[in-house]
Symmetry: D2
């Protein structure tokens, strides 16, 4: 039962994302047809800097739906089922996840929480336990096969012993508006450590492609300048609203 | 580690659901204002039978969005995390699920697949393993607490050992259109046994409240009169489309 | 062509909305099953005040998805097609709107903007124009009927002359989370006057049913204590963020 | 007031759409990580034909959510507000539409229904009426300006006279699953002529980019081999289900 680490790859994103956002925002306020200015956007005749400034000024005024026109698709592996159960709660997104029914789990990978990895006794207990899970899975699968349940029909029941730590693989597509919201929630120190780590990598990849939009994305405090999470939950990096000068 | 069974309770539904669907459908085709006919719908001056027949005739013609106006809210317990991970993939729905971070898992309930329960050796192996998981959870939680991680901070890491079989509790709201789709997918014999059993109970509860809509809901074949799942996946209850007379 | 005014009726809402929100929030943090405490919520054994306080404290901490479990259904008439085109842009909602295809528009109602009503010359010009539209609709419909296009086939083309002012009727269902967002956007002084007036009435109806949630709903500034719309768009009721003390 | 015609331009789509769909579908059933096979997909080492066949076989079995990972963005002009009001009812989509508040309508373009254009008397009446609308708009706007309401504040009220025929411009993004559904509804002969014409052009553009998915998309009958619209609404191109041999 090998331990694994998260890996996040950007498979695809809408091409020419800055120009597409600019075109969508402009169409709302422009008498002409943005398809006619599209070549001048791609050629840089209308400068990228100007495009970014226009987008920033409209976003500042509270109009954000046009950023939905650009999407990013990530392939993610080495993350726990605990993480994917949280991840798929984001409903404005598309997911294709590795099935525990069609893929055998006899030798599953697992994710170890850092706090467990730092405690030698806990680490040993956790590692031994993961071996025990593998044995239980294989034993139960073999017993089901003796009853004539094979392949996916055996996997789907044997997997009931697999832990939340069991690693999964998933393809995720989100548009920029959903991503901005996802980063607000999941880059916050209140988020669980595993999904925060994955969100941070996703944010880095988005920033490389579209810095004009994602440079200041992240936990809500980054944009607000204060922490909205309240006294009980704040991490202390930013002041609470009530205690602002 | 006690074994548990699913329990599905209907907490609430939109009141006067038949009349509300009727009003919504009528508003599309009616010159008047349905708020003005609303008292006559509730009083039965416009008969329930007539309301149901009108809805059926419009649905038959392919216009189904008005059934979204009525929602059902269920509370569900005794279902595995394997089930809830599938359940929350339905994105046109609202979910509030018991947190493994805020609720201690030292003595978690679990769900046992029927095929395992029917095989004495598999059942014994599964039961023993669930006890082992409880020990591992408690051991690791205790070790984390020695490091100063307590409460939800200990739970959120210890839970990595909890199995897919671990029982969860969840409140679910879906509108009728989402429910009809949910039943099409999950009452099908291709669906996994656990979510099919829960979907069947939900469907029964919906039928009691709104038989005019849900009497013929269920797996796609119930409505189509044939199985659309293809030769490889059909359960055989209905003929495949290509082999229809 | 008679002038009309908006009318908003609350047709239905999820019953026992406060207790349902409480149950949904509690299930996230509670070891027990909320269906078991449900009778005690309805009986008032767990006091409404306590239920409201619990919900407020969790909302304050940033966890808002459970408010989705409660929905409100409104019937609205006397609003312009300009308004309904804006309204149906809210995608987390269900709509059933009167069809200009199936309902004849020969004697359509219309909405007059207050700024036009206040200017005698503009008012007279507007009123006369609405009569002209009616004539054009009836003339064109009659000419199409001579070509054998009758009923909905004549309406669907004749309606191309109907103005944005033409009144429509629509049934709308939104859950509380969508409503809170809708009020943030549409109760703001930046919103167009017509949809703001309708949103204000809807908010009043929600407040009567569920004051614990809606007492402080409204434009974003009501909750934030400052205006986030920026110098160019602010109405001045609240200070801008940058100019807060 | 010039008459206009629809124009649909494909601004962007997710790059390498076939390979991305293949990767997403494969990840569900594959033990490995699709990011590792991604270069072999792009290079053609895994042949496009094989990719298409795999996708077709999974779609056939009823698993369609992975097609959501690919999106198309269109810019559309020369379509009526009647059309855009229908278009934005598709909620799993993103829209950025030209504002009648920020863009002056003194010399608006308009769309003429073909049945009107074919009838000389109706055509003349319609054309004259559009000139009358322009006059009314300019008169009312001038009167509002005398009251000190200028720019967008004058436009937003003057536009109440603009007809459903008034042309709009809109940027639309939909993923493939939403597109397939859109084509099922809107390429059907029951759909209104204007949105059907636009949907047909969109479908043609999608087919050029991704024939493996869109070759057989279109009205529901194209896939089913029969008409599901019922006796009252069928266009007769395909037999009704009940009358199939």
């Amino acid at each position: 039962m090998p331990r694994t680490e998260p890996r996040v790859e950007l498979l695809a994103h809408t091409p020419e994302p800055l120009s597409l956002l600019y075109a969508a925002f402009r169409q709302c306020y422009h008498a002409g047809f943005v398809a006619d200015m599209w070549p001048r956007l791609l050629s840089g005749e209308i400068e990228r800097e100007k495009q970014g400034a226009f987008i920033a000024s409209i976003l500042e005024s509270g109009h954000s739906s046009p950023i939905e026109h650009v999407s990013f698709t990530f392939a993610i592996e080495g993350v726990s089922r605990a993480l994917t159960h949280q991840l798929v709660r984001h409903r404005i997104a598309s997911f294709s996840q590795q099935s525990q029914r069609y893929v055998d789990g006899s030798h599953f990978d697992y994710v170890m929480p850092p706090a467990i990895a730092r405690n030698a006794a806990a680490k040993a207990r956790f590692e031994q336990f993961m071996e025990d899970v593998g044995s239980a899975y294989r034993d139960i699968k073999a017993l089901l096969e003796q009853d004539g349940r094979t392949g996916s029909r055996a996997n789907e029941d044997a997997r009931f012993v697999l832990p939340q730590a069991a690693a999964s693989k998933i393809v995720v597509t989100m548009n920029c508006r959903a991503l901005v919201h996802f980063f607000e929630e999941r880059c916050c120190m209140r988020a669980q450590w595993e999904i925060r780590a994955v969100a941070d990598v996703m944010l880095g990849l988005c920033r490389e492609v579209l810095p004009e939009l994602f440079a200041h994305a992240g936990a809500k405090c980054e944009r607000l300048g204060y922490c909205p999470e309240g006294e009980r939950f704040t991490c202390g990096r930013y002041p609470l609203r009530q205690s602002m000068p």
